[in-house]
């Protein structure tokens, strides 16, 4: 076989150029930006355009490097920021649990459906996530309002006399988050569950294990990679979520994404916004690493 060495050098001439293009793009437009976030987080805010002080300055022939940890000090001193981080993590955690509780049975049902129907069922779950995210959150605004459909229906049925305040509460944020992120939970779980070997279940059934026992001793442990991948796909973005708490949440909903947005756009404090982002990345480093490892193991990338 003399083709193999040729294949090994598949596109040999252009190999390095080919390699360079996506690598370079991600290096410049994804990795490099984080260095700027880090840089600006140690700068001081200033009334200038752009509104921060320079890190390096050439003054009278001397290179001045100004690093200020003031922004981090500021974040630690104000309980608002710490509370925002804590709230975000808490909301992301519970949203992940709710998505898992709803998404697992859904993924299981698709994986157990006849082979030719699986694509259609999966498409049914994914289709809403292709329509605008904003529109889906907006749909809930109309439903959850005080004079919205849910309150009107409950009042008409006589269950309640006064409308319940649902919009602008944490409850509404949970609904919005679970609604928006459910497909991200179902997809990796389905991809995992569909690969399971049925003979294990049959063997367990032969040995006398019931439905529930088989699920907890075989299916659930085998699907752990899918559970972790799906959970990370929900947890990580929700920590930084901005749109949902802004549209559905109220004054009680203090989340870090919203605080960052306000620091940046309303207070125009770029260094504090950068420091907030940097700490968020540090918090998310472990879950992101976990997701990456699972992806590699499952052969996703």
């Amino acid at each position: 076989m003399n083709t193999y060495p040729m294949l090994k050098k598949f596109l040999p001439q252009g190999r390095y150029t080919l390699m360079a293009a996506p690598f370079l793009w991600l290096g410049v437009f994804f990795l490099l930006p984080f260095l700027f976030v880090a840089k600006i987080s140690v700068a001081e805010g200033a009334l200038a355009i752009p509104p921060y002080t320079a890190l390096f300055e050439w003054l009278d022939g001397v290179l001045n490097i100004r690093v200020s940890l003031y922004n981090f000090q500021w974040l630690l001193d104000d309980p608002l920021y710490i509370q925002a981080y804590w709230n975000s993590i808490k909301m992301a955690f519970w949203s992940t649990v709710y998505c898992l509780l709803i998404g697992y049975p859904m993924a299981y049902a698709i994986a157990k459906a006849p082979r030719d129907k699986q694509t259609v069922l999966l498409l049914l779950v994914l289709l809403p996530s292709w329509t605008s995210f904003l529109i889906r959150v907006y749909a809930w605004m109309g439903l959850l309002k005080n004079n919205g459909l849910i309150n009107s229906a409950l009042m008409w049925l006589g269950v309640i006399n006064e409308p319940i305040q649902m919009l602008n509460t944490n409850f509404a944020v949970y609904i919005g988050v679970v609604y928006s992120y459910l497909p991200f939970m179902v997809l990796p779980l389905y991809a995992n569950l569909v690969k399971h070997d049925n003979s294990l279940l049959e063997a367990a059934a032969d040995l006398g294990a019931g439905h529930i026992k088989r699920f907890f001793t075989i299916t659930l442990p085998l699907s752990m990679n899918g559970v972790i991948a799906g959970s990370m796909l929900v947890f990580i973005p929700v920590v930084g979520e901005y749109v949902i708490p802004e549209l559905l949440g109220g004054t009680e909903t203090i989340m870090i994404g919203k605080v960052l947005w306000q620091e940046f756009f309303n207070n125009r404090d770029w260094p504090v916004a950068s420091a907030l982002a940097l700490i968020m990345v540090l918090i998310l480093l472990v879950p992101i690493g976990l997701f990456h490892r699972i992806q590699n193991k499952e052969g996703g990338l």
Binding site: L7, F10, P12, M19, A21, P22, F23, W25, L26, F29, F30, P33, F36, V37, K39, P50, I102, P105, M106, A109, K112, T119, L124, V125, L127, W130, T131, S132, L134, I135, Y138, A139, M141, G142, N147, G148, L149, S152, Y179, L182, L201, M232, L233, P237, V239, G240, E241, G257, L260, W261, W270, A273, S274, A277, M280, P287, I288, H292, G300, L301
Partner: protein, 274 residues
């Protein structure tokens, strides 16, 4: 395992209802005569007429479509190259870094991507004078970057499943490497390329947070436009817009599913016949 009643099947349909009912209600109320979103006052298409007369929204729609088209196209080209690297060259220096860079945008919160990109553009503008202004170009760059991540995942999984003996046969028969790539590899992975392109297109059309950071005056995209009007409350015009978006996405999704299925069927029948 046939079951009379299964908990998971029940949950599936409950979940589907949860996903679809709010959108169906939105669609129904987009034909409501009344300005009050909750009071039904008869069938009317007047919000659609108002929507099409809204010059600001129409400009934003066109701009968003352009950005989505360009971002999806650039992302797919880069993703094909990226997938070839990931799948064909399993051991090269910096592979971990590269695969990390590809998966990270999939999960990284939007506010962080948006903020970091803006800071990059500002710093580059100061240092090398490019990009001088923020607008469509910077939004295109930002969208291409995160679409590249999604596209690479879709395309590389298809490339991994591909039967390499077809390429070997083509090379044996004297086709050059570039010829083999264009006449064998590319057609085989084309369903994945199409779905990656469509996914990127919808992701770009959908993004509000990143675009808000990296855009400039005069380059408002549709989601930014919708977001600012939705923040002020529920307006029936947005219901009409939402309905059109839902309809468009459904048509594209069903069509792409159908074509992918037909293409897969054709490939498998050809393989079975040969």
């Amino acid at each position: 395992m046939a079951q009379r009643f299964s908990f998971s099947r029940l949950m599936f349909w409950v979940g589907i209802a949860f996903l679809y009912v709010p959108m169906l209600i939105l669609v129904v109320y987009s034909f409501n005569e009344s300005r009050l979103v909750t009071v039904w006052a008869g069938f009317s298409g007047k919000w659609y007429v108002e929507l099409f007369q809204d010059q600001q929204i129409m400009t934003a729609v066109w701009r968003s479509l352009q950005i989505a088209f360009l971002s999806a196209s650039a992302a797919v080209v880069l993703a094909v190259l990226g997938s070839l690297i990931m799948v064909r060259h399993r051991n090269f220096k910096g592979r971990t870094l590269f695969s990390g860079m590809i998966t990270a945008p999939l999960v990284m919160p939007d506010v962080i991507i948006g903020l970091s990109m803006l800071l990059l553009f500002v710093a580059m503008g100061q240092m090398i004078g490019w990009p001088a202004n923020r607008g469509m170009l910077t939004v295109w760059i930002a969208h291409t970057t995160f679409c590249l991540a999604y596209s690479t995942v879709v395309i590389s999984s298809r490339l991994r499943e591909m039967d390499r003996s077809l390429e070997e046969a083509s090379l044996d028969l004297g086709a050059g490497q570039i010829g083999t790539f264009f006449s064998v590899t590319l057609p085989i992975i084309s369903p994945a390329i199409i779905s990656a392109w469509l996914l990127s297109f919808t992701l770009s059309l959908d993004d509000v947070v990143i675009a808000s950071f990296v855009t400039g005056p005069g380059a408002t995209t549709l989601p930014i436009e919708v977001f600012s009007s939705v923040r002020l409350g529920v307006t029936p015009k947005i219901n009409a817009l939402a309905t059109l978006i839902i309809a468009a996405v459904s048509i594209v999704a069903i069509a792409s599913w159908y074509f992918t299925k037909r293409m897969n069927d054709r490939v498998s029948t050809q393989l079975a016949a040969s």
